[in-house]
């Protein structure tokens, strides 16, 4: 599965939108299926370092579009297992170093395919190995998580760890209290959160911090009105959302901003209709796929986050998405109910 961009472009002709501007569900399904058949293109191989996450993005989009079986289940499981290392971590593709981000994608894919048992049968002690790979990256003094052996920490990795461990039912392997304290120390004067203490507020990092606090059951630490005000200020007159003040709008922030607002119960502070129109304008109506903004190349990353954003704001015809996990709610509910 590729993050390969293109081939299509989002519509540019914003002045003459058709009256029936809608989500082209069938086209998007075909687009995601086609990504995997583009192995004769260099772009496919240049994005190999993202492959496992690309697979998670594509699979999530298909689930939300109501086509969960549009990719072959057995082949996906084979591929996921082929990315796994003996230490329990996953690389982006076979032969790539194990990394937190791809390990999380691996777990999310297995969860979406309801494949933990298949996995356990094929990889002895597999879940426990993953749990240990992830928990070993926590610094027990500071609560932070690194993403790889080089030790750089980032609230993305902390969120990823709590995400995957909660899906595996293994949160007890880490010090959740310390992790929560670290997230709290990343809160900025403007109400947002960054990659670490003192780092600029950024909608993507806010998603990871609020997501981590939600999984830990500690949303009480968030000043919801202040954060909600900052997040809702991300909406621009064209309906799109940016990730930081004075930056351009981008479809992926339809996810990072709106999911954060949903988690703190402030989803209605943005103009949903305007946002929906903006996302729909970023589609390629012929070949499918969604771009970051109208006129740009489509890619699977913006395709899933555009669709997930639409799901959050209740766009008709889509499966409900879980704002904490970016997976279908029916699936996270089943797994977390244990």
């Amino acid at each position: 599965m590729s993050l390969a961009s293109g081939p299509g472009r989002a519509r540019t002709d914003t002045a003459h939108l058709p009256d029936d501007l809608r989500l082209y569900i069938d086209k998007h399904v075909m687009y995601i299926q086609s990504l995997d058949r583009r192995k004769d293109e260099l772009e496919y191989w240049l994005t190999e370092h993202l492959r496992l996450s690309g697979l998670y993005w594509g699979l999530t989009a298909l689930h939300l579009l109501g086509q969960p079986d549009a990719l072959p289940r057995d082949e996906i499981i084979d591929f996921v297992i082929s990315c796994m290392h003996d230490n329990g971590g996953f690389g982006a593709a076979p032969g790539h170093d194990a990394h937190m981000l791809y390990t999380v994608s691996g777990v999310q894919i297995l969860a979406m395919l309801d494949a933990f048992e298949d996995f356990e049968q094929r990889v002895q002690d597999g879940k426990r190995k993953i749990g240990h790979f992830i928990s070993n990256f926590q610094n027990r003094d500071t609560g932070t998580f690194a993403g790889d052996e080089w030790g750089e920490t980032d609230t993305r990795f902390l969120y990823g760890a709590l995400n995957a461990l909660s899906l595996l039912g293994m949160l007890h392997l880490v010090d959740v209290t310390k992790a929560v304290e670290h997230v709290d120390s990343c809160a900025n004067f403007d109400g947002g959160y960054g990659t670490g203490p003192g780092a600029e507020s950024h909608a993507g990092q806010i998603f990871t911090c609020v997501g981590a606090l939600t999984i830990a059951g500690r949303l009480d630490l968030v000043d919801r009105d202040k954060l909600g005000a900052w997040l809702s200020e991300r909406q621009l007159p064209n309906g799109g959302l940016n990730g930081r003040p004075e930056k351009l709008e981008d479809v992926c922030y339809s996810w990072w901003v709106v999911s954060s607002l949903a988690m703190i119960g402030r989803l209605h502070w943005i103009d949903k209709e305007k946002l929906a129109t903006f996302i729909l304008r970023c589609q390629d109506p012929e070949l499918g796929g969604i771009a970051d903004r109208p006129g740009d190349m489509v890619d699977v990353f913006h395709t899933v986050f555009g669709i997930a954003g639409l799901s959050l704001i209740g766009y008709p015809g889509l499966q409900e998405v879980d704002p904490v996990y970016c997976m279908p709610k029916s699936i996270t509910q089943r797994i977390l109910a244990g």
Binding site: D78, W150, F189, G198, E246
Partner: protein
């Protein structure tokens, strides 16, 4: 046949083709030749843990084709440190690479590894300034800069001067405002609060607001300052009134000023005025966030209209 297969330097290495995880069409093979060959040699050297000089040119080659490949960077750093190479040379090589691939996360991580090993920030301020000329809001560069400040305990004065230059170029650079907060307060967490610093920072932010009243960064900064020092928001009432006044509802120069005034009126107990300010925001100056402003009014004790969407949400 290939750059590497024809090179005697690589004659002893048996290239490892892509192992795509078994009979699985999801990852069938059709690499372009050049990239594919280089990768097969990388897999081979990694498999044998080859730490020789030639690996540096191999990784350089792959990075030039695909700088986002994180495994290549990690392996290159490992070889550099093992061979005890001249790390200044590595930085000199990295500079143009970083300028060409500004959004690349791996390059910054690599740079941090190398500068940390060099144990000196010499030349880094100049390089960062060059990066900022292309994109003064690059998140990786700002994170790296914070790391440098902490790692080498760089003094406040030179940092504040650099920030000032960036804000002169673009007063709306939120990254620069954030770094200012980090330098003034973030790195001195736990120090006692100095009133002269409050005065200096208030003055600085207010001067910036005069330049661009609708710029949210300095307004956030001012709110943050007053909260930090436990001062009431009414401290800046005369200042805010310069940009918005209920007496002149058609002549508002900053929605942020109106927002501040709403809070000030609420604090003073003149809720009707606060409600007026919030109505202006909802109806005229920031209608896209009408629901937010209505919620603020609701907190004041004004019930929203019965069909208002606020009633559809119960989880306040």
């Amino acid at each position: 046949m290939g750059v590497y297969s024809d090179d005697p330097l690589w004659a002893d290495v048996e290239p490892l083709p892509q192992d795509d995880g078994g009979p699985n069409p999801l990852a069938a093979i059709a690499y372009t030749d050049e990239y594919s060959e280089a990768m097969s040699y990388l897999r081979a050297v990694m498999a044998s843990n080859d730490m020789s000089e030639r690996v540096l040119s191999l990784t350089e080659d792959i990075i030039s084709m695909n700088p986002a490949h994180y495994t290549v960077w990690l392996y290159r750093a490992r070889v550099l440190l093992t061979l005890k190479k001249d790390l200044k040379e590595e930085i000199a090589w990295l500079n143009p690479t970083a300028l060409n691939y500004q959004k690349n996360y791996q390059i910054w991580h690599h740079r941090q590894t190398i500068i940390d090993a060099l144990d000196s920030p010499e030349g880094e301020a100049e390089f960062i300034a060059q990066m900022f000329e292309r994109d003064a809001k690059n998140y990786h560069v700002w994170s790296y800069r914070q790391w440098l400040v902490k790692r080498f305990d760089i003094d406040d004065e030179s940092e504040l001067k650099a920030i000032d230059e960036l804000l002169r170029a673009d007063v709306r650079n939120n990254s620069a405002w954030n770094h200012r907060w980090f330098v003034v307060f973030g790195r001195h967490e736990g120090d006692s609060l100095d009133e002269t610093v409050l005065e200096r920072e208030l003055k600085y932010a207010q001067a910036a607001i005069y330049l661009a009243p609708q710029n949210q960064s300095p307004w956030n900064y001012v709110r943050g300052l007053l909260r930090k020092y436990n001062k009431p928001l009414s401290t800046i009432k005369p200042f805010a009134t310069e940009f918005a006044s209920l007496d002149h509802p058609d002549d508002v120069h900053s929605s942020h000023a109106l927002d501040v005034l709403a809070d000030i009126y609420e604090g003073e107990g003149t809720k009707a005025d606060a409600a007026k300010a919030l109505d202006l925001l909802a109806q005229k100056y920031d209608p896209i966030r009408a629901n937010y402003w209505t919620y603020r009014k609701f907190l004041l004790g004004f019930p929203p209209e019965p069909d208002h969407p606020i009633f559809h949400h119960h989880n306040y």
